[in-house]
Symmetry: C2
Subunit: 198 residues, 2 copies
């Protein structure tokens, strides 16, 4: 009996150390992956907001183009959420089922949002470069070259955010769904799982 | 010994029946969710391909607009994949780790693809309705009303496909990541799990 108890407590201690190492490693990685888009989103947002050009033919600003305004809003929302979620992830705390679901759903929705914003802005940037003769839309980049280049830079930064968010939604879906078979307190490949009800 | 064996085999039988019922229910649901987009994609594709209008001002066809061509291609790819994956899901077979990963990755990539195609087409449809004065892009729907309506119909159908694929990528990520803690042959809330390596 006594032997068994000692063995058990050694086991628990070993598992706990392993868990702490593993989860703190993953937590640090996830925190960085959530902090990184904060900078990227702010960069994409600032580059786009400062994007306007005036010349002898007239003037063109990001605010004249719906798709670019959408990109600015999406980047703003993601910068805020990234900062908030990084701060939340940085502090070690048990991952409850409702938190796992919240992060999972928000990560998914925001990945779709930033992808849609990036895709739409890419299409409009393409139209400003090439135009569309059949619909009588002329290209604008011959006249507004600087404007187009700056918009393209903002779009490229946005797609780096998309990559981060694809990875983050992978992590959060792993975190959520891998809980679904783990018994309470089960040692979960380096992720600390403590289940406080559903 | 003999008692233990009998108990074990009863357990196994009970688990197996439960597993078969559960997994066949989920399998049917997933097969239907994969078959449904086949029809939707073909509908969106046909509606868009047949979208052209000629009047006294000229003619406009979906093939003149890059975003709409992209939508047709994306719908074509998703129709093919949906049909193939529905056929694959319909036949009961063990879900190996590599199959779970393949379905997961393909479902994710195709969800992103069809979402991007839908978003881009929506933006261009918006521009054909409203135009953009600052970039000297005039609206086209005053002249090509039928063309615009038909394109909008195709886009709406595409967003139904997006909803199906968001659900499918949820299912396939559940299927993949819930395996990550389940021991071999573990009864997995109605999903049959047989682990062949990995």
């Amino acid at each position: 009996m006594a032997d068994e108890k000692i063995e058990k407590s050694t086991d628990v201690a070993a598992t706990r150390t392993e868990e702490e190492d593993g989860s703190s490693g993953i937590r640090t990685a996830e925190t960085l992956l959530r902090l990184f888009p904060v900078g990227l989103c702010v960069a994409a947002l600032v580059v786009m907001i400062k994007d306007s050009e005036t010349n002898e033919y007239g003037s063109l600003s990001y605010s004249n183009i719906t798709a670019f305004r959408f990109l600015v809003h999406a980047n703003g929302i993601l910068a805020g959420y990234s900062l908030f979620s990084a701060a939340f992830t940085a502090v070690p705390r048990p991952i409850t089922m409702s938190r796992a679901w919240t992060f999972f759903l928000l990560d998914q929705v925001l990945t779709y949002l930033i992808l849609a914003a990036g895709a739409v802005a890419t299409e409009v940037a393409f139209l400003t470069y090439k135009g569309d003769v059949a619909v009588t839309w002329s290209e604008a980049c011959g006249t507004y070259g600087k404007f187009c280049k700056q918009a393209t830079a903002s779009i490229i930064i946005t797609f780096l955010v998309v990559i981060c968010y694809v990875l983050l939604s992978l992590i959060s879906s792993y975190r959520l769904f891998s809980k679904y078979d783990a018994p309470v307190g089960y040692h979960n490949k380096g992720i600390e799982i403590v289940d406080f009800g559903n």
